[in-house]
Symmetry: C2
Subunit: 233 residues, 2 copies
């Protein structure tokens, strides 16, 4: 049996920009409500609403829009102007329509690796929006499988890699320590952390320093060499 | 080869109540904005917003909440009170937390059929919420597979049934002529229409009268007999 038989990739902030659009929208949201609350306080309130709501909204822009609206109602004690609510809706719809911006080295790396391994996209978020982003990215043909999931836990990785030799022969690549690295290692896979710089507060976790199947790389340009080393080529 | 090797089920309004909660919420929404627009006009505006938005929100409660909020802003020309927006958010969150109400004969029918055929759940809507509803329904163990999809087109049925003998040996059961019956027939499957009484305006389609693989039944109690007839037992 080969040591490595499949490679999984996270999507948002691993293949294309995502968090930066949330940050930008957050800034605009803070400006919109500047008369009612200070920027930092407002962002804290928004994060608290997101944390409260993630259990029933899940991940993605629609839930973010609803949490922004809830925060706007709360911080103004119900005095928020309807036009402001309309602007929040516009901001969210703009995020949903935003063109895909691929991260550096994504096309070359995926192109090279997809010739030698089946690649599987494993991402969470709004089902329809993730499908639309993949279609718009032009990367769809490179993936042998796509899994859009509500939560990234070890069993999700076991299942996603089951058809391709199993999690022990899989490598997961992503920018979230909490969602991509830690649960993939727990499932028995290799895991590669590609930090993005920006990451959402709910995605933080401690790095598994010293774990024999863990590696951090600066960007995807370093991935083929690491893959070759793991595969024992 | 057996004629029938797998049975697919829609979820909302086929296994459990769904549309009735949307209708109830729509009534409350109309009451909330009664000072600004007449009930019928308001529902028309809401439906128009839902149709405009379904392409980027997809199906499910979060998109419905956002369309209600947009409609509230629009019909009041921005004068909607923040407390009203807060109430719309509360109404939507209540829908998300609503307990599952199984439809008649669901448990008996699924129990009997799951002993003889793999059953696959094929549903659209918000990923997380559909997973939560399936878990809360207590029916999860009866399904060999679960597919939560953004749109029910023939290729979705071909893919969902591929691991179980293919769409030609599959039967799809559901309450939507447009999403469950017509595309499943197009994929080459048998299709059983179980009308629910209430159905969303975006789910209407003409019945495929005279199609040799189409059947309408009043409720799931009639399904085992039809399955036996199709299977040639």
């Amino acid at each position: 049996m080969t040591r490595l038989s499949v490679i999984g990739f996270d999507a948002d902030d691993t293949l294309w920009q995502n968090e930066s659009f949330f940050r930008l929208t957050e800034e605009r949201f803070a400006e919109l409500l500047a008369d009612h609350a200070q920027g930092d306080h407002l962002k804290e309130r928004l994060l608290a609403a997101e944390m409260k709501n993630v259990g029933h909204y899940g991940f993605g822009i629609k839930g973010f829009m609803l949490s922004m609206i809830e925060t706007a109602v709360d911080v103004t004690e119900g005095r928020v102007d309807g036009h402001v609510i309309g602007q929040i809706l516009d901001m969210g719809q703009e995020m949903l329509r935003h063109p895909i911006e691929l991260l550096p080295h994504v096309e070359d790396t995926l192109g090279a690796l997809s010739d030698r391994y089946p690649l599987v996209l494993i991402t969470k978020g709004d089902l329809l929006h993730q499908e639309q982003k993949l279609a718009a990215s032009g990367l769809g043909e490179m993936f042998a499988g796509v899994e859009i999931v509500s939560e990234k836990v070890p069993s999700v990785y076991s299942r996603a890699f089951a058809d391709h030799g199993g999690a022990e022969h899989a490598m997961m690549v992503g920018n979230s320590m909490k969602s991509d690295v830690v649960p993939a290692l727990a499932a028995g896979s290799w895991a590669v952390y590609v930090p993005h710089g920006l990451s959402w507060a709910l995605e933080h976790a401690d790095p598994p320093e010293g774990h024999p199947r863990y590696r951090e790389i600066a960007d995807l340009a370093g991935l083929p060499e690491h893959v070759a080393a793991v595969a024992g080529e």
